[in-house]
């Protein structure tokens, strides 16, 4: 117990002292997860919008598949990306294995279904409200999608938040495709796993504290934004 409490103090010291290794790991974690989030939003939001307004044969099956993909096991995604990016794989020539780019790809694959499925629900609800007006104005489909995404932007922030949370907390896929290489692909979650297994609890705890603070801060910011939007009757 004493070891744990002293580990906490050392952890706080590392955070307060802006330890260089710690900062490097945090910066890489944020960079990888934010890039993955941007890519996922660029793909997932239009997919969600299309599914929200389009009616076609097999739509229900697509929605079921999309919802199921939200629960993709990270290690399976990591393995699939690994197989594609390894030297013998179809994309081996890109030399991306054990790079942050590989980690971004794995995280993007994991969170794109989350962004698409959750945004589809939000955009479909809004479309139900706007549909008759849009039909009356003969709004083209692409304009409709843009309008829905723009008008639901504050609600979609929550979706992005869910995606970011999943990405930054992810360990299984990034350790497979990133390799947890010091100063290259080591992110918070893989570092926590490594340091814990080595018995170096202070660094693991310090990273855990930072992870929690990031999660709380991002949640707080999004909630504040949504409350402001609600007050302004935009949301």
């Amino acid at each position: 117990m004493q070891d744990v409490s002293s580990a906490f103090w050392i952890a706080f010291g590392l955070v307060a002292g802006l330890d260089a290794d710690l900062l490097e790991i945090i910066a890489l974690s944020l960079r990888v997860s934010l890039f993955a989030l941007v890519i996922s939003c660029l793909i997932g939001l239009p997919v969600g919008a299309v599914l929200a307004i389009a009616r076609f044969r097999g739509r229900s099956a697509v929605l079921i598949a999309l919802n199921a993909l939200m629960g993709l096991p990270p290690v399976v995604v990591g393995l699939i990306v690994y197989l594609h990016l390894s030297r013998a794989g179809p994309l081996g020539w890109l030399n991306l294995l054990y790079t942050p780019t590989a980690m971004i790809i794995a995280q993007a694959i994991l969170i794109t279904p989350i962004i698409a499925a959750l945004s589809r629900q939000i955009l479909e609800d809004l479309h139900t409200e706007y549909a008759e007006q849009f039909r009356s104005l003969s709004v083209p489909a692409h304009t409709m999608m843009q309008a829905l995404i723009w008008d639901a932007r504050f609600s979609l922030l929550t979706v992005a938040l869910a995606g970011f949370g999943r990405a930054i907390a992810e360990v299984g896929a990034v350790i497979i495709v990133g390799g947890n290489i010091d100063h290259l692909t080591r992110v918070m979650t893989t570092a926590i796993a490594l340091e814990t297994s080595k018995g170096d609890l202070p660094l693991a705890l310090a990273l855990g504290i930072v992870l929690l603070v990031i999660a709380l801060t991002v949640n707080g910011l999004v909630m504040a934004l949504r409350m402001t939007a609600g007050r302004q009757a935009y949301a």
Partner: protein, 250 residues
């Protein structure tokens, strides 16, 4: 103030329906074989008690509902997307975008802008907002407006399309007298500027104020159509007489 239609005076008219029928998905027939011709010139009011099929009739004319029988023709042409772009409909409950008042108008101005033009015309937007008395509210979120203001914004947005035909579905239902007066004034101005107005209402007093001609529906049937003066002074049908006298029609 320019609200003249974009394609010449009432060029979509006459509007003709032939045996227009609509049966809902649950099998109940809401519109029964309506034959009607509406010409340019007068402001048309569609009247009738609740459940008469007025709103359904309006949605059929505007193409929001597909007839299950019969035809609708504008100047001899069947209703198409191109024709619908030359019409606008204001709903009883306005559907406003989650944006500012100005942005709600900009959305439509951009939608109807000439090819190659990417920005809405701010002068036109301000004209429209001024016309409906909302210029000083331009930056305010649309959903913060009162019910009457929201309906005026919806009307301005409809006029932004410079429609040849403007459909109004009970635009003043549940509004206070001041808001009702403003909506009616804007409607009359649009009519004077050359837009054909087809307005649904079950408010007899409003119909008397606005109507040039009246289409009276009951239980999905076209009961009577007449010049407004004739209709109000000497209704031909038993249903219309009862309605105008305020008697209950079952």
């Amino acid at each position: 103030m320019r609200d003249a239609p974009s394609h010449g005076f009432a060029s979509l008219l006459p509007l003709q329906t032939c045996d227009l029928t609509f049966t809902a998905a649950n099998g109940s027939r809401l519109i029964h074989g309506i034959d009607l011709t509406l010409d340019a010139g007068s402001l048309t009011v569609v009247m009738g008690p609740n459940g008469a099929g007025k709103s359904v009739f309006l949605r059929l004319l505007h193409g929001l509902l597909e007839p299950t029988g019969g035809t609708i023709k504008y100047a001899g042409e069947p209703l198409s997307d191109a024709i619908r772009k030359r019409q606008a409909l204001v709903f009883q409950k306005p559907v406003l975008l989650r944006r500012s008042v100005a942005a709600n108008i900009d959305f439509v101005l951009k939608l109807r802008a000439r090819p190659g033009s990417t920005q809405p015309d701010p002068v036109r937007r301000d004209e429209l907002l001024d016309q409906v008395g909302l210029l000083d509210r331009a930056a305010q979120p649309a959903r913060q407006l009162s019910g009457g203001e929201q309906q005026r914004l919806a009307l301005a947005r409809a006029l932004a399309t410079r429609p040849d035909i403007l459909f109004l579905d009970e635009p003043t239902a549940s509004l206070d007298p001041a808001s009702t007066l403003m909506i009616e004034q804007i409607t009359s101005d649009a009519h004077a500027a050359g837009t054909k107005i087809i307005c649904v209402t079950h408010d007899v007093a409003q119909a008397r104020r606005l109507a040039g001609d009246v289409v009276f529906l009951s239980n999905g049937h076209l009961i009577e159509t007449a010049n407004a003066d004739d209709f109000f002074s000497n209704p031909k049908s038993r249903e219309a007489q009862a309605y105008l006298e305020g008697r209950l029609i079952v």
